[in-house]
Symmetry: C2
Subunit: 148 residues, 2 copies
């Protein structure tokens, strides 16, 4: 990440992420990886195509990530490089209101990811990834338990 954001720029980006962005991490099955899975972290912002010009301006200010257009015309601004996600989240963390827990858990996962040295440690990491799902989706989600 080439720039260090000013405090107001960091605060702006925290607000933008809280309002429009998404932080998540996926476990993707991939035989090329030692433990059979790739850990793929993402920060994504969304805009409809009509705001393309300004969205591109905003993204160029950040100096990281890339823009892609979905088939339905929605623009996604994606940050998926680990080092960029870490620098970005550390900069905006003090100003986050709505997505603090996700940011904290993501930073923890990325830190732990570097240290994994066994299948057991990888499994622990995978459990942290699972916690993400609970943060991003409703805590009131119904769990159906079959009882005899």
């Amino acid at each position: 990440m080439s720039k260090v954001f000013s405090s107001t720029k960091s605060a702006y980006l925290a607000g933008f992420l809280d309002g429009d962005g998404s932080i998540y991490v996926r476990l993707k099955p991939n035989k090329d990886y030692r433990y059979g899975f790739q850990i793929a972290p993402y920060i994504v912002f969304f805009q409809s195509n009509k705001g393309r010009e300004k969205f591109e301006k905003l993204c160029s200010v950040m100096g990281i990530g890339y823009i892609r257009e979905r088939n339905d015309g929605i623009l996604e601004y994606v940050i998926n490089r680990q080092a960029e996600i870490q620098t970005f989240l550390k900069a905006i963390y003090p100003y986050l209101v709505l997505k603090r827990e996700q940011a904290k858990l993501m930073l923890k996962i990325l830190e732990k990811k570097k240290m994994v040295k066994s299948q057991k440690e990888f499994n622990q990491l995978a459990q942290l990834v699972d916690q993400f799902r609970n943060l991003n989706y409703s805590k009131k989600r119904k769990r159906y338990t079959l009882t005899p």
Copy 2:
């Protein structure tokens, strides 16, 4: 509006508005009003119900507006008092990136609204309100012209 926001708070709210919020103004037919229409300005933020607790926290920090729940479960945080909209927009304006034009036009409309003294001046004001529609919807919207 009871609080003056710090610069990072203003920047955060600018980012949140850019990401998730909406600025618009409606001309509502209303016979009680001198020129037959009420000019109703709004700033609205949206969140799904699952983020209710944090959204309420965020809104209480602002100290203005109110929360309402739509039938589809989406929460709307609405600021619709003229003085509050003005104070809010003036505070966050320096940090806005995507919605600068809307904020500028809204402030112009609210300023002009106080000065209206004739039907002609009201019509000019109504034209400004019409400009809003063009800002909020696609500039590439097709206009069909019937030619002979």
